[in-house]
């Protein structure tokens, strides 16, 4: 197998060097806990509900670079594609705690769930109350309880940042984030594989003419392997599945995220946007904002995901709330 060429030093240092690089993007705001894979804001207001986000590395800028004003107070990173261990999560929790408890937002994967749950128990032993709202937006599985968290994290972290910055209590903040989670649906498609940076090996294989609908952001298989089809047809299939799932209905107002899994061109995403908007027009669904970017990536996997978030006034206000974090760009870039 050909190693995928990358711009790296010692593969063992990837996560650590990436965290250092992120800190240097926002030195006035960000601090790394020495020796740990934890970043946190330099100044967190006393009495604020804390927000900790995190998960396996390899999806950059998610989650490590989503720390900043209006977003997370601390992030914790695992190794590539591996949930962070409980002691690291605990460090992030302690860094974020300002007396009002800490909200955990992360993707719904067995590994993350177990590690954050253990961390929550350790935090409780230290007198820090925690609440958890997992991202579970990927409609590739039928059973909502088993859904993975993919690019919808972009909105859920955004809403959580707003909630924790503006609400007085942990419970109250968590409730708004739950509403976001419950109205959030995503579906991805992979066109070419990414690779594990430590080994350079591809995370999966696709035939010369194959795509996979529902592919997970770690290269986990999706709902269906299909022949490469025209962009418009693919978008029709994805939008159909998404609309049917919540379901979204005529008159709904939504935010749309078009997330680049890594190596897909921005131009392709515009071709996707064009057809998607025609379909949403036909379905009578209003798009309040569109975010286009590579936020929840899977190394250099080519493909994208569509995320629809059904809005109410409060969720819309949460998305419009200004933030400042190295990985979170406002607008369409």
């Amino acid at each position: 197998m050909t190693r995928v060429k990358k711009i790296l030093n010692d593969p063992a240092d990837i996560v650590s060097e990436v965290l250092d690089g992120i800190v240097r993007l926002a030195e006035d705001d960000l601090v790394r806990v020495a020796g740990a894979r934890v970043l946190h804001r330099r100044r967190i207001p006393e009495g604020k509900v804390g927000l900790v986000v995190g998960g396996g590395a390899g999806h950059e800028p998610m989650y490590s670079a989503f720390v900043g004003e209006g977003l997370a107070d601390a992030s914790v990173s695992g190794a590539v594609f591996a949930a962070p261990p409980p002691d690291q999560i605990l460090l992030a929790t302690e860094a974020a705690h300002r007396g009002r408890g800490v909200l955990y937002v992360y993707g719904n994967y067995a590994g993350d769930n177990m590690n954050f749950d253990v961390a929550a128990e350790l935090a409780a032993e230290r007198g820090i109350e925690t609440r958890t709202v997992r991202v579970a937006d990927d409609i590739a599985t039928a059973d909502p309880a088993e859904r993975r968290g993919i690019a919808g994290a972009f909105y859920q972290v955004k809403v959580a940042g707003f909630a924790c910055a503006t609400r007085d209590g942990l419970e109250d903040a968590a409730r708004l984030v739950e509403r976001c989670r419950d109205n959030l649906r995503s579906l991805g498609v992979a066109v070419r594989p990414g690779s594990l940076p430590e080994t350079g090996e591809l995370t999966f294989e696709l035939g010369e003419n194959e795509i996979e609908i529902g592919m997970g952001v770690h290269g986990e298989r999706g709902v269906e392997r299909r022949e490469l089809m025209p962009a418009d047809e693919l978008v029709e299939e994805m939008v159909r599945r998404l609309l049917a799932d919540l379901p979204f209905s005529r008159g709904d107002e939504i935010a749309v995220l078009i997330d680049n899994l890594g190596a897909t061109t921005w131009a392709e995403l515009m071709i996707v946007n064009r057809r998607m908007r025609q379909l949403l027009d036909e379905a009578g669904i209003r798009v309040r904002r569109t975010d286009v970017g590579a936020w929840m990536t899977s190394q250099e996997m080519a493909g994208f995901s569509l995320t629809f978030l059904r809005l109410d006034e409060e969720l819309a206000a949460a998305l419009d709330h200004p933030v400042r974090a190295p990985g979170f760009a406002q607008g369409g870039g």
Binding site: G56, G78, A79, A82, P85, G111, H218
Partner: protein, 229 residues
């Protein structure tokens, strides 16, 4: 016929486990590539490298403390699902191994406690295509006929785990990164169940070595090994 493993023996066996799981890296990652995200071998190798370091740093000690050291190292260094699952396994056993040597009863109580703790932590049940499907038969083997030669018992535990791992091929995944796969996961064993088999094999002194995935269960024979001291 030895009916206990003294502290030195336990230490050598745990070190052998650490080496075996580092050596199994590619086998385990390949298995995880089929139905998961392809990192299980890297995760286990990372954790057991840390465990080996912890054991060496701590020096000789009571068997329970050694199990605890391994469990803590896995908890802190594996990450992923495996860190909690296998960390919990070793920590649960540590709590049941109280004396200056390990006896059959310790193994029985330890593995039962581990089975319960892992199931509670992860919410999975036997049959869901996880390492529990190797752990459950292993615990059963450990609690079977009493007063057996402990080295033979270890080999039987390993063999039971291996059969359990082999049986996961025919199971549909209900948890973890394989869950969307459904029927496409059929025919592939669960990576964590394979890992657990390798752990028991190395602890039993069965020379497992890297092998074809299909051979994992059959390979777990009952061959005894003289403990190094």
């Amino acid at each position: 016929m030895a009916d206990r493993l003294d502290a030195g023996d336990v230490r050598e066996r745990l070190l052998a486990v650490c080496r075996a799981l580092q050596a199994a890296r590619d086998e385990l990652s390949a298995a995880d590539r089929e139905i998961g995200d392809g990192d299980h071998g890297v995760t286990m190798a990372r954790g057991f490298a840390a465990a080996e370091e912890a054991l060496r740093a701590a020096g000789p000690g009571l068997p329970g403390a050694q199990f605890r050291a391994v469990g803590m190292a896995l908890m802190s260094h594996c990450g992923g699902a495996a860190g909690i699952v296998f960390g919990t396994l070793f920590l649960s056993m540590a709590r049941e191994i109280r004396g200056d040597a390990i006896e059959a009863g310790d193994l029985c109580r330890g593995l039962r406690a581990a089975l319960e703790a892992v199931a509670r932590r992860g919410g999975a049940k036997p049959g869901d295509k996880t390492m529990l499907d190797a752990l459950a038969p292993a615990a059963e083997a450990a609690c079977g006929e009493p007063r057996k030669d402990i080295r033979r018992l270890l080999a039987e535990i390993a063999a039971a785990a291996g059969r359990g791992a082999e049986a996961t091929r025919e199971m549909l995944p209900r948890t973890g990164k394989a869950k969307t796969l459904g029927e496409r996961a059929l025919g592939h064993p669960d990576p964590g169940a394979l890992s657990l088999t390798r752990i028991f094999e190395a602890f039993a002194g069965v020379d497992a070595g890297p092998r074809k995935q299909g051979a994992s269960a059959a390979g777990a024979t009952t061959g005894d090994r003289e403990a190094p001291r």
